[in-house]
């Protein structure tokens, strides 16, 4: 299996506190890296570094052997990042959010209704997102995953606010993504119902000083 993502000696310092240092790992196509750790350990920071929103103090990340700094645009075209904040416009309806977001992801949606049905929002498509529940807003944001062809998904707590059916749905989609040779990097406090050699775990502890 080819290596999709590689982190080399990552060190990050936030607000004068060392979150992690000398962190190195590899992620191959078809694998999940589950980052674990208590609150404030630096899981989100690590994800934001990989997404390209933050610069590490030291070290670098490589996508298909290409350093992030050399060509951020190449990086951005291959990855999909969904953070804590869902990037859903509260004033717009689910349908409007989906069609605008898919165009930003460079995807022509043939049938947005099918996508709405997949993520369980059919019948709610013309209600402004601000009137939907947190879980439903989350579903709008996660709908991106169902058309995305990005090689690397970076998901910060994707299961937050989702019900068991939503979590189940997401797991199925993850399986498809890995089957297609994608890689997945995620944080979650939920146990993953994944077994076998595909799942890697990385534990970050709160640095004691």
């Amino acid at each position: 299996m080819s290596v999709v993502l590689e982190a080399q000696q990552l060190t990050s310092v936030r607000a004068g506190r060392t979150l992690f240092s000398d962190l190195s790992w590899q992620l191959a196509a078809g694998e999940i890296l589950h980052i674990e750790g208590p609150n404030g350990a630096g899981k989100s920071t690590l994800l934001r570094i990989v997404a390209g929103l933050l610069q590490p103090l030291e070290g670098q990340v490589l996508l298909f052997g290409q350093p992030q700094r050399d060509d951020p645009e190449y990086w951005q075209r291959q990855t999909l990042f969904i953070g804590h904040k869902p990037a859903v416009k509260a004033e717009l309806t689910a349908l409007e959010n989906l069609s605008l977001q898919s165009r930003l992801d460079g995807v022509q949606l043939d049938d947005p209704w099918l996508l709405l049905e997949t993520v369980g929002l059919l019948g709610l498509e013309d209600i402004p997102a601000q009137q939907l529940s947190a879980g439903q807003q989350r579903r709008i944001a996660l709908a991106r995953l169902f058309y995305s062809e990005a090689k690397l998904w970076i998901l910060d707590e994707p299961f937050t606010a989702l019900d068991t059916r939503g979590i189940e749905l997401l797991h199925q989609r993850f399986a498809q993504h890995l089957e297609a040779g994608g890689a997945l990097l995620l944080t979650s406090h939920q146990p993953l119902t994944w077994s076998g050699e595909r799942l890697q775990r990385l534990r970050i502890e709160v640095a004691d000083e």
């Binding site: 929103l53 416009k89 062809e149």
Partner: protein, 227 residues
């Protein structure tokens, strides 16, 4: 893989901003209403004599325009920052300054352009001599894009501060002053019968400079803010 072009991103971002803004019309109407209120209050306060009103008209209209630009400025990037759209904007495979210019354009379209259209009404209420209406509108047409661009720089710098409103006003007012001076001088020249050519050219130069540099500054400020 995301193969969309910069042009497509720009169009989508502008379309989204327009759609969101049209759902919250009060944000567009409030600053305009503010200008109209200021302009209608002046004749009541200083007396309706055309000699006084006509002389202060330009100043009043321009000061009202500047203050109204400050009114809504805090919100320019606030919602995008809070809902996470701003970090997704940074992650788009397109030059961030171009996207910033797109957002500035939409802001001008909804906040600046209506002001230009409203100018004759304000001029009428303040009894500005009709010969000067054209030049007043011209200065507003050149000046409001600058207002949008400078406001965007300030808003992007303060967006992560939570309550950056007061700081934003302090930051922006000094930048507005050259604009105010030259715009008022241009109308004044026309009123006394000399050519306003020089002032208008200077304003146009300032506008080009601002519109060139502001997107770069906005992009840099957004990158800092999402950290």
């Amino acid at each position: 893989m995301n193969k969309a072009s910069t042009w497509q991103f720009l169009r989508t971002i502008m379309q989204r901003d327009l759609a969101v803004a049209l759902r919250r019309r009060s944000d567009i109407i409030n600053p305009l209403l503010f200008v109209v209120i200021v302009v209608t209050l002046f004749p009541l306060a200083v007396g309706p004599g055309p000699d006084i009103l006509g002389r202060i008209a330009t100043g009043v209209i321009w000061v009202a325009a500047l203050l109204s630009a400050l009114l809504g400025s805090e919100r320019l990037f606030r919602d995008d920052f809070l809902d996470g759209s701003l970090e997704q904007l940074v992650l788009l495979p397109a030059p961030l300054p171009v996207l910033a210019l797109g957002k500035i354009s939409v802001h001008w379209l909804l906040n600046g352009l209506p002001l230009v259209i409203l100018a004759p009404l304000c001029a009428l209420l303040l009894k500005l001599p009709i010969d000067a209406w054209g030049i007043l509108m011209l200065t507003l047409l050149i000046g409001t894009p600058m207002l949008s661009a400078m406001t965007a720089v300030g808003a992007a710098l303060t967006v992560s501060l939570g309550r950056g409103g007061a700081l934003l006003s302090l930051l922006l007012l000094p930048l507005f002053i050259p604009l105010l001076i030259f715009a008022a001088a241009a109308v004044e020249s026309t009123l006394v019968g000399t050519s306003a050519y020089g002032q208008v050219l200077l304003l146009a130069g300032l506008m080009l400079l601002t519109l060139t540099l502001a997107p770069l500054a906005v992009a840099a400020a957004i990158r800092v803010s999402v950290n």
